[in-house]
Amino acid sequence: MLGEGIIKGLAETARNFFASYFSAERLTTVEYPEQRIAPFEAARVFPFLVFDQENRDGGGPEWEAGMRCVACQICEKECPPKCIYIEKSRDKKLDYLGKAQYYPARFDIDISVCMSCQICVEVCPFEAIKMNTVFELSTTDRFGALLLNREQLAKPNEYYHKIHPTEAAAVDARLAEAKIKSETKATAGAIAAAVRGAEVPARPVEGGV
C-alpha cells in the first residue's frame, strides 16, 4: 500500500536514532584526532625509498650508503603527473649483489603533485620504491615542505617490514633468491675460468689489466 515503505524507513531510522544512545557498538565512526583505528596493511599513501642497513658501500650516512635505488629513472619516466625528479650520480657504488651501480645524487618527489597511483612501485625493478602509510603530511609551508628530498624519503627496510610485513617478506625472499643466483653464477664462472686456466697454459700476465 502507498506509504508502507515510508513507514518502514521511518521505523528503521528511529531505531538507529534511539539505539545509538544505548549501544556503543552501533557507532562505527571514531573521533579521529583523539581516537585512531589501527593502521591496516593494505594502506598506501605516498612513495618512499627503501635502504638496507647491512649494505654499506661508500661513505656518507647510512640511508645514503644502503639505498637500493640505482637511478635508472624508470619511475621518473612512468610517473603520470611527473612528480619525480632524479639526478644520476657520476660515480658508481656496489649494490647488494656486489655489482657497481649508479645511485641517485638527487631524488625529489613533489607530494603536492603525486596522485598515489603506485605506478612507480610497480615499474621499479630494484624493489627500491614502496608505498608509505603515513597520511598526516599537512604543513604550514606551501612550497618547500611538500617537496620531499631523498633524505626525507629514505626509510630502512625494517620500517618497510613494519608497515607491510607480508609484502616485505616476499620482497626479501626475492632479493635473497637473486643474490644466491648471482653468487652461484659467479662461482660457476670462477670454476669455469679456473678449469680454462688449468687447460690453457698460463700466459704471462700483463700488468694493469
Binding site: 500500500m1 502507498l2 506509504g3 515510508i6 524507513g9 521511518l10 528503521e12 531510522t13 528511529a14 538507529n16 536514532f17 545509538s20 544512545y21 552501533r26 557507532l27 562505527t28 565512526t29 573521533e31
Partner: protein, 390 residues
C-alpha cells in the same frame, strides 16, 4: 497558574507602562516584534545543531561535538564564520536585485509570524483574515527565490530557481486546499478563532481537528505540502546540492547565504506553527488535566515536534525526481485535497453521531487506496529504446 500563562503579556504591559500613554500601543507592538525577531533566529541556531546531531544519530555517528559542551556552541562558530566571510557578488549580476532577494525572503517569512497565536492572548496582530494574510506572505517568498536565481546570472541558479518556483506553486494549491477544510468547519479565517474552536474537551480529550477523518487527511496533505513548500528533503530539489550545486543561492556567499539559510528555517518554523494552529489545536493542551501548563509551552512544543518530524523525514527519505514530484502533487495530493473538501462538507452537515465517522473515513480510505494503487502506477518498464533517432 494564570500569571505564568500570561507572563509575557504581563511583562509587556509592565514594560510599556513606563512610557507616556500615547506611545504605549506602538511600543507594545515594537516590543513584540523585537521578541519575535530575536526568538526565532535563536531557535534557528539551536535547530541547526539539533538537526546535525539528530541526522548524525540516524546515521549511527555522533554529529558535531567540537565547539563547546557536546558541540552546542557550533552555531556561534558558524555565525562568526558567515559574518566574516567575503561577500562575493558576480560581476554581471543585477546588484540591486541580488541584494534585495535574501532581505525580501527573510522579511516575508517574518511577516507570517505576525498572525500566529503563540499562546493565549499572544497574537501580535489579531487579524480577521489572518490565514489569508499568512498565505499571501508565504507566497511572496517565491518571488524572493526567483529574484535570487534570476539576478545571479548563473545557469545553475536560474535552473534551481525555476525548479523551486514550479515546485512551490504546485504545492501551494494543496497547501491552501487542505487549510480551507479547517476554515469550512470553524467558519473563520482568524487563527485565534480557529484555535478557540478546537479548545474544548470531552472525556479529557481535546477536539483538535486532527482527530477527525477530514482533519487527519487534511493534516497529512498539509504536512506533505509544507515539506515541499519549505524545500525540505525529500522535496529539496531546488537546492539539490548533488545536482545543482546549491540551486538558487549558488552565487550567494557570506551573510547573504546565511540569510537564505535563516529564511528557510524560519519558514519551516512558521509553517509548522500554522500547522499546529490549524490541526493540532494551537496552544491548547493535549489533555484536559494538563491545561495548567502555560499555553505558550504547548505551542512551542508542538512546533518543535513538527521540526523533529521534518528532520526525521530528512534523515529517512531520498530525494524525489522532478517528474515524481509533479506527479505526486497533481495526481495524488491535489485529488485527495479536493475530495477532502467534499468530506469536510459532509462532516459538517451529517450532524453528530457515529454515521459521519464511518462514511467520512470510508470515503477517504477508499480514495487513498484507490489513488495509491491506480493513480501513481507507471507503465511497465521494458528495455530502453532511443526514440529520437528513429
Amino acid at each position: 497558574m494564570n500569571t505564568l500563562d500570561q507572563i509575557f503579556v504581563l511583562l509587556r504591559q509592565w514594560l510599556v507602562s513606563f512610557l507616556p500613554a500615547g506611545w504605549q500601543a506602538a511600543a507594545g507592538v515594537l516590543l513584540s516584534v523585537a521578541v519575535i525577531v530575536g526568538l526565532f533566529p535563536a531557535l534557528f541556531a539551536l535547530t541547526t545543531v539539533f538537526e546535525r546531531k539528530g541526522l548524525g544519530r540516524i546515521q549511527n555517528r555522533l554529529g558535531p561535538n567540537r565547539v563547546g559542551p557536546f558541540g552546542f556552541f557550533q552555531p556561534i562558530a558558524d555565525g562568526i564564520k558567515s559574518l566574516t566571510k567575503e561577500d562575493i557578488v558576480p560581476l554581471r549580476a543585477d546588484t540591486a536585485v541580488h541584494f534585495l532577494a535574501p532581505v525580501l525572503l527573510v522579511l516575508t517569512v517574518f511577516m507570517g509570524f505576525a498572525v500566529l497565536p503563540m499562546g493565549r492572548n499572544m497574537t501580535l496582530v489579531e487579524m480577521d483574515s489572518g490565514l489569508l494574510f499568512y498565505f499571501a506572505m508565504g507566497t511572496s517568498t517565491e518571488l524572493a527565490v526567483f529574484m535570487a536565481g534570476w539576478s545571479s546570472r548563473n545557469k545553475y541558479s536560474l535552473l534551481g530557481a525555476m525548479r523551486a518556483v514550479a515546485q512551490m506553486i504546485s504545492y501551494e494549491v494543496p497547501l491552501l486546499l487542505s487549510s480551507v477544510t479547517v476554515v469550512m468547519i470553524s467558519g473563520s479565517l482568524s487563527l485565534t478563532k480557529i484555535v478557540a474552536a478546537q479548545n474544548h474537551y470531552s472525556h479529557g480529550l481535546p477536539h483538535w481537528y486532527i482527530f477527525t477523518p477530514w482533519g487527519f487527511a487534511g493534516f497529512l496533505m498539509y504536512a506533505i505540502a509544507t515539506t515541499a513548500e519549505t524545500n525540505r528533503s525529500p522535496f529539496d530539489l531546488p537546492e539539490g546540492e548533488s545536482e545543482l550545486v546549491a540551486g538558487y543561492h549558488t552565487e550567494y556567499s557570506g551573510f547573504k547565504f546565511a540569510l537564505f539559510f535563516l529564511g528557510e528555517y524560519l519558514a519551516m518554523f512558521s509553517i509548522s506553527g500554522l500547522g499546529a494552529t490549524l490541526f493540532l489545536g494551537g496552544w491548547t493542551a493535549p489533555f484536559s488535566f494538563l491545561t495548567w501548563v502555560p499555553s505558550w509551552i504547548w505551542f512551542f512544543s508542538k512546533l518543535m515536534l513538527s521540526i523533529f518530524v521534518f528532520i526525521w523525514l530528512r534523515g529517512t527519505l531520498p530525494r524525489l525526481r522532478q517528474d515524481q514530484l509533479m506527479n505526486f502533487a497533481w495526481k495524488f495530493v491535489l485529488p485527495m485535497c479536493l475530495l477532502n473538501l467534499f468530506v469536510a462538507g459532509a462532516w459538517r452537515f451529517m450532524g453528530d453521531g457515529w454515521l459521519r465517522w464511518v462514511v467520512c473515513s470510508a470515503i477517504l480510505i477508499a480514495a487513498y487506496v484507490g489513488l495509491g494503487l491506480g493513480g501513481l502506477r507507471r507503465g511497465k518498464i521494458g528495455p530502453r529504446r532511443y526514440r529520437y533517432a528513429e
